[in-house]
Each structure stands twice: as structure tokens, then as C-alpha cells.
């Protein structure tokens, strides 16, 4: 609080204009849309939070964004000891932002703490496979899983940052979340909920997959309103934003000072339906014909052509096509046929239509377009367009019959991270189909690739046959940034500022 007051006093003293930022002082001002709930990477799992986690902390392994191959980061080597155990050789001489030395103890403490469900990691799927973690010596660690877990390396490289055990234990996790210390290329340099700074860590080790950062300072500003964020980029006060609406990108790119692009992502959008009756026993979506009607009612080709842009595509599977196990051939495909949709609804006894609540957050236009297509076949949609977190809650707590959301799979290239999260009986699962749940469980419990592929293909066939979802399209991410900035967007939807530089 005192910090704020002194700042205002200083502001009063001089009616200042904004500082000369950007290439002048080798800083980059970034605009994000939602305030992170702290910096703890196991709690702050929204995409903006994942971005920050990657800059403040390191994982054991680095997955190359272009080749998707694993490279050394905090671990210099790794071997599989048996079906359940991976052994990692840790890098020597790595220090945390506070100068303390990184050892196996930190890995053991971090993973053990968060594998414990009571600690409250938001994505339990990322940690619940861990049985125990043991230090063989100061620089060697073994991670043991409960059952053979094929996606172990994916999660280790994607979702499991390593924290300093001494510091985190002494201040407690709540305080750690407000003032984080990690081994990442950038360190937290203070700020508050509206604006904070990350500075390049000059003790960062050489030779890791992330390289050495060129930009000295990252100034992160939270600007929740999209229009305001875009205005700031146009005005040059903010130098990088994402989540730019697709129709703005082409127009922004015409401005000489701004470069705007549409990048492909692994994020898939879907309309999930309440087949399990969480909203009530009389949920219309418990009837297969109603679900099939929804699949026929929406013109996805037009939505993708007009409202998605870039190289977005229509999806017919409940996963991202490049993920391991995502067999596009196994799916039942529904064509756009509103007459058939109406006939199916009439057959199911809904000839007069019905009303339903739908929650969405990503894009208002697409949500309203879907609302309009459903209205044309007699389904009146009460649209709730809210922020991402609230929308997820509404779906998970069974408050809405339809959910038009999307899922980035934490950029993990395995189907267990996409449909594995939505048909496993968890709160994400609107179908609760025991046959599919069993198939997924069996695929999770073996490392035999053929057996896994088989199980997943069958699951995909069943999911599409039973029309639990209407898979919609891939999501294209809009970026807009200063033309003087060298920046590369990646398909894993993780901006890497440690690889960016000023021209």
C-alpha cells in the first residue's frame, strides 16, 4: 500500500508522460487480458498464466516448439529405468533467482507437494499420475508413476515447473505465489495487480533449450478490455498483445507501426452437450437424436470461412489432429442439414423446439452465429457470454446445457490431454459414458502404442457416433505487435519472449 502512495505522490510531483519504452531501453511492454491469480504455475493454469510460468520457471525438459523434440533444460539427460520409472540427470551449477543452488531436493519437494491432491493443483491430470519422486543423489532424481504412464515426458516438459524448496517452504505457498523465485530466464521484479515487471536473470545458465534472453525487461500490463488493448497497440504504448479478434488482424496489419498475424494453434473448439443430465433429469440432450440434430444444425464451414480466419479448419474429431491417437478416420461425420435436424428433433418429441442455456467466452460473434443456427431449427439459446474462468465453472458445475468452449491441451501432443480430459468422468465430462471411460482408462495404463491407438480410435468412433460433442474448429490466435520486434508465434500457443529481440 505504501508503494502505491509513493507512486502517486511522485506522479503528482510531475505530470509525467509515459516513459520512452521499447527498443530505446530494451524493454517490451506486453498487454494481457486477464489478471493471473498469482504466479504459482500449478494454480495459474489459464493460458496467460502458462506464458508467465514458462518465463519465470524451468521444467526438467524443454520441448522444441518446431520439431516437438525433447531437449535438455534443468535435466541434461533422462533414461527409462522400467515401465514405471524415469531417471533424470540434473544440470550442475544452476542457481535460482535468489542465488541458491538448484539440486534434486527441489525437484523432489516440488513434485511431491503438488502430487498431493490437498495442495490443490488446478489440473489434477498433470500430477495425479505421480506415485513418488526420489533423489538418488544431489543431481539425480527418479520419478515413479502409479501405472505405466505414456505421456509422462509430455507433462514433465509442459506442466511441471520446479520451485526452490527452501524459499517456498519458508514463506509458504501463498506468499510464494505473490513473490515467486524460479530458475527461469526472467525474474519477478515487483509490481501490483495492474502492472508488473519481469527482468532478465543474469545468472541464467547457458546451454539450455531456451537460450539467453535478448530483451532486458518485460513490462506486463493487465488490460481486460479488448478494444482498449488494441487501442494501446495502435498508440504504441503497448508493444505486444494477443487474443486479437480475427477481423481486426488484417486491418491492424495495414498500419505501418504494427505487425499483426494469425497463428495456428493446437487449441480445439467444441460444443459440449449435457448428455448426462447434470442440468436436470429432463435434459433434452440425454436423447441421442437431439444431439445428432445439433450436429446437423450448424454450418461449420461458413463459420470457419467467415469467423475463424487464418488457417483454421473444421474439426470432426474430439482432439487435435496432430496429437498422438487422434484418428480422424475413425470419426462419424455429420453434414450441415437443418431439415434433417428439425426432423430428428420432431422424432424425439421436440417438434416445438425447446430452450437451453449456452455458456461461451472466446468469441462473441461465433457464439451468436451458433445461437442463430440453433434458433433456425427451433432451439432457443439463452447465451451467457462471460469470462473464461466463469464459463468453465458453469460447465463443470452442470449449470448449462450447452458449452461452446475450447481446449489447448496444455500444448501436449497426446490425446490423453484433450479427449482424455473430457470423457474421463471428471467435472469436464458431460457424457459420463462408462464404455468410453473404460477405454480411456485402459489407454492410460499401458505404454504399448498399438494398444493405445486402438483404444483411442474406438473411443473416437463411439464419441462421434453417440454425438456427445459437436467438434467445431481449430482456433487461430491473433497477435499484434510493434513492427520493430522480432517475434515468432508458435503452434503450441506459447509466446517465447526469451527468443524475441528488437531489430
Amino acid at each position: 500500500m505504501t508503494h502505491r502512495l509513493t507512486r502517486y505522490a511522485a506522479a503528482f510531483a510531475l505530470l509525467a508522460t509515459p516513459l520512452a519504452a521499447g527498443p530505446g531501453d530494451n524493454s517490451l511492454t506486453i498487454g494481457l487480458g486477464e489478471e493471473p491469480p498469482g504466479f504459482d504455475g500449478y494454480i495459474s493454469t489459464a493460458r496467460d498464466g502458462v506464458l508467465l510460468t514458462r518465463h519465470l520457471f524451468d521444467m526438467l525438459i524443454y520441448r522444441n516448439p518446431e520439431t516437438f523434440e525433447y531437449e535438455p533444460l534443468l535435466a541434461t539427460g533422462w533414461t527409462r529405468i522400467d515401465d514405471l520409472t524415469w531417471e533424470f540427470t540434473l544440470r550442475d551449477g544452476v542457481t535460482f533467482h535468489d542465488g541458491s543452488l538448484f539440486t534434486a531436493e527441489d525437484v523432489v519437494w516440488t513434485l511431491t507437494t503438488y502430487a498431493n491432491p490437498e495442495t490443490g493443483a488446478r489440473s489434477q491430470a498433470s500430477v495425479q499420475w505421480i506415485e513418488r519422486v526420489e533423489a538418488v543423489d544431489d543431481l539425480t532424481v527418479r520419478i515413479v508413476s502409479k501405472t505405466p504412464f505414456p505421456a509422462a515426458l509430455e507433462f514433465i516438459s509442459g506442466s511441471l515447473p520446479i520451485y526452490p524448496s527452501d524459499y517456498a517452504q519458508s514463506v509458504g505457498l501463498q506468499a510464494f505465489s505473490q513473490a515467486p523465485i524460479g530458475t527461469g530466464p526472467y525474474m519477478y521484479a515487483g509490481g501490483d495487480s495492474g502492472q508488473f515487471t519481469l527482468e532478465a536473470f543474469d545468472g541464467y545458465y547457458q546451454g539450455g533449450g531456451k537460450g539467453t534472453p535478448s530483451i532486458d525487461t518485460l513490462i506486463v500490463r493487465i488490460i481486460p478490455d479488448t478494444a482498449t488493448r488494441v487501442a494501446e497497440v495502435i498508440g504504441g504504448n503497448v508493444e505486444w498483445i494477443w487474443n486479437v479478434p480475427e477481423d481486426q488482424v488484417a486491418q491492424l496489419d495495414t498500419l505501418p507501426a504494427v505487425t499483426a498475424t494469425l497463428g495456428s494453434t493446437m487449441r480445439i473448439a467444441m460444443i459440449a452437450m449435457d448428455a448426462a443430465g447434470r442440468t436436470g433429469e429432463d435434459s433434452p440432450f440425454a436423447d441421442l437424436r437431439v444431439r445428432q440434430a445439433v450436429n446437423h444444425a450448424i454450418d461449420r464451414d461458413t463459420i470457419v470461412a467467415e469467423l475463424v480466419g487464418g488457417d483454421g479448419e473444421v474439426l470432426n474429431v474430439p482432439c487435435y489432429p496432430l496429437q498422438f491417437g487422434c484418428d480422424t478416420g475413425a470419426a462419424v461425420v455429420y453434414d450441415y442439414d437443418p431439415d434433417k435436424a428439425r426432423a430428428l428433433l420432431a422424432e424425439a418429441g421436440y417438434g416445438d423446439g425447446f430452450s437451453v442455456k449456452m455458456s461461451s467466452y472466446r468469441d462473441r460473434n461465433r457464439a451468436e452465429a451458433v445461437q442463430s443456427y440453433l434458433a433456425a431449427v427451433g432451439i432457443t439459446v439463452d447465451l451467457e457470454l462471460v469470462q473464461a474462468r466463469a464459463s468453465f465453472s458453469a460447465w463443470r458445475e452442470g449449470e448449462v446445457g450447452l458449452w461452446y468452449g475450447d481446449w489447448g491441451s496444455f500444448s501436449i501432443a497426446d490425446v490423453s490431454a484433450s479427449l482424455g480430459n473430457f470423457f474421463n468422468g471428471s467435472t469436464n465430462d458431460g457424457a459420463r459414458d462408462p464404455e468410453i471411460m473404460d477405454l480411456l482408462a485402459s489407454a492410460d495404463a499401458t505404454v504399448d502404442e498399438t494398444a493405445r491407438k486402438q483404444a483411442y480410435s474406438t473411443a473416437i468412433r463411439l464419441i462421434t457416433e453417440r454425438a456427445y460433442w459437436l467438434p467445431m474448429h481449430t482456433i487461430v490466435m491473433g497477435y499484434a505487435y510493434d513492427s520493430e520486434l522480432n517475434f515468432q508465434a508458435n503452434v503450441d500457443e506459447l509466446p517465447r519472449f526469451f527468443l524475441a529481440s528488437w531489430k
Binding site: M1, R4, L5, R7, Y8, A11, F12, L15, A16, T17, P18, E35, P37, G38, Q124, Q174, D192, S193, G194, Q195, R221, I222, I223, P224, D225, A227, T228, R229, A231, E232, I234, G235, N237, V386, Q387, R389, A390, F392, S393, R396, E397, S426, T427
Partner: protein
């Protein structure tokens, strides 16, 4: 005078309790508080456990008493979302809103006072008509629309002023104009009307006839007397601004309590919403109480009224 003060205080206390009941109802009765604490993936067992742990299964009266006791000690609960104490969240953001509201009132008064006085001096002149037009326009403009237009013109096209954030004083210029433009008309009219009434009174005419300088008459006598109702209205408008800041803060990305309120509403973070409504109401009650007492002290006629 004492009787008046006591009655006024009693009223204020009653209102405080009434408001606390309303906010308590919003957060404990309208929504299930157990669901808010337990979070997204709570099972029925989790919910039952939370209910027992936090005492949500006790009779409402008991919960209300506990709530009041906590508030009295400064404990406003914890945010469902971040787990942080609400008092910390509020303390971080009150300075921004207070600054915004103060600057807005200054802007509003800065326009209203000179315009109101000048208009009163020359009733029905062109200046008067302009001032009245400005007042009517200011009252009819939707302030979020005005904010967007200001951003478009001054922020983007001309690039004179910063658009979002709250780091320097310059960041508050556009928001203060947007917020203040709603209060300005009412204040200006009140000053104008008050001045017109006062300027027609006998003692002002006497002062003028006695040859006192126009300026002295204006400031020492007329304005002093016309200003009284303006103090009350200013207090009221300041209170409105605290409540109305929600729109301006979200458009201009100012990290104040109005914006915090909107974020909390989008996520049903009831403890925060309830605390903000309570806080703003309290400020309003205190301000109007002080304004009333000040008025009563300065103007004996008011103390007599029921």
C-alpha cells in the same frame, strides 16, 4: 442542535445496518456460499465439508451476527478466487478510485462553478443558454459512450493522452472527464439557481447600492450563501462517482474498486462484491452525514425542520 445531531446519527446507524443486511443477503442467501469456497470441481462431499467448516449450516441470524462481528473487527472475508483477504484487495485499489473520483469532482466543479456563476450574472444571455445547453447535453450523454469517443479522439487519432492504466496523472485525465461530465450538469444548475435567488435578495441589492465592489459582493456575500446546497450535492455526487466508477474503470483499465467489483461479478466472487457495496455505501453515508451536519451548523433553518 444536539437533538438534530442525535437524530441524524441514529438514522445513519440504522442505514448502515440495513445495508449490511442487504449485502449479507446477496452473498449468503442468493448464492450458495459453499459452492463459491469449494470451487469448480467440488463434489457433494466437498460441499458438505465446507459447509460444516465455515458454518454455513447455522441459522441465518447466527451467521449474520458473526458476519457483523467480523466486519467490526475489519475482517471482510477472503476472495473465493484468489484466497486473499478482501481487505488487502480493497486497500490496494481504493487509492486509484479515490483519485479518480476526486479528480472527477474537481473537473465537474471546475466547470460548474464558473459557468454557474457567470450564467447567473447574465440570465437568458447567450452565455446562459450555452451553459444550460451544456448541462442538458452532459446529462443525456451515456458516459461509457463518451469515454469510448474520447479514447478514439484523444487517445488514438490525436495521441495526446494515454488510454489505459493508472501509472501517471495523465492517465486519469480522460477517465476524470468522462466520469465528471455526469456530475457537472446538476452542480452547475444548482449553483446557477442558487446564485440567481441570492442575487435578487434585498441585502445584496443593499450591498450593491452602498457601492461595494461587484467582486466583493459576489464572492463575499452571494457565493457564500449559494454554496450551501452545493456542498450537499457535491457529497452526494462524490458518492455516486464511487459507485459509477465501475464503467469508467473497465473502459480505461484503471485498477480501482469499481473494476474489481465488475471482475468479481463476472466470477460470482461474492465476498468481494459484498464488501465493495458495503464500503461504498459507508462512504456515502459518512459523507452525507457530514454534509448534513455542516449545513445544520451553518444554517439554523435546517436544524428546526423535522
Amino acid at each position: 442542535m444536539l437533538r438534530f445531531v442525535i437524530r441524524r446519527l441514529a438514522l445513519a446507524v440504522f442505514v448502515v445496518f440495513a445495508i449490511s443486511i442487504i449485502t449479507f443477503t446477496l452473498s449468503h442467501v442468493a448464492v450458495d456460499p459453499a459452492a463459491g469456497v469449494a470451487g469448480d470441481s467440488a463434489t457433494d462431499d466437498d460441499l458438505a465439508a465446507v459447509r460444516a467448516q465455515y458454518g454455513f449450516d447455522r441459522p441465518l441470524i447466527v451467521q449474520y451476527a458473526a458476519y457483523i462481528a467480523n466486519v467490526a473487527q475489519g475482517d471482510l472475508g477472503r476472495s473465493y478466487l484468489s484466497g486473499q483477504p478482501v481487505t488487502t484487495l480493497l486497500a490496494e485499489r481504493i487509492p486509484a478510485t479515490a483519485l479518480l473520483a476526486s479528480l472527477s469532482i474537481l473537473f465537474a466543479l471546475g466547470l460548474a462553478l464558473p459557468l454557474g456563476v457567470l450564467a447567473a450574472l447574465r440570465p437568458n444571455s447567450t452565455l446562459d443558454r450555452c451553459a444550460l445547453t451544456l448541462a442538458v447535453v452532459g446529462q443525456a450523454i451515456p458516459n461509457f459512450w463518451a469515454g469510448l469517443l474520447l479514447i478514439l479522439l484523444f487517445g488514438v487519432k490525436l495521441g495526446w493522452l494515454p488510454i489505459s492504466g493508472s501509472s501517471t496523472l495523465a492517465h486519469f485525465v480522460l477517465p476524470a472527464i468522462t466520469l465528471g461530465s455526469f456530475a457537472m450538469p446538476a452542480l452547475m444548475r444548482l449553483i446557477r439557481a442558487g446564485m440567481i435567488d441570492v442575487l435578487e435578495t434585498d441585502y445584496i441589492r443593499t450591498a450593491n447600492a452602498m457601492g461595494l465592489a461587484r467582486r466583493t459582493v459576489l464572492f463575499k456575500y452571494a457565493l457564500r450563501n449559494a454554496i450551501l446546497p452545493v456542498i450537499s450535492l457535491t457529497a452526494v455526487q462524490f458518492g455516486f462517482m464511487l459507485g459509477g466508477s465501475i464503467i469508467v474503470e473497465s473502459v480505461f483499465a484503471i485498477q480501482g474498486i469499481g473494476y474489481l467489483a465488475w471482475q468479481s461479478m463476472s466470477r460470482s466472487d461474492m465476498p468481494v462484491i459484498q464488501a465493495i457495496v458495503l464500503f461504498i455505501s459507508l462512504v456515502y453515508i459518512v459523507l452525507t452525514l457530514l454534509a448534513d451536519l455542516l449545513n445544520a451548523a451553518l444554517d439554523p433553518r435546517i436544524r428546526g425542520a423535522a
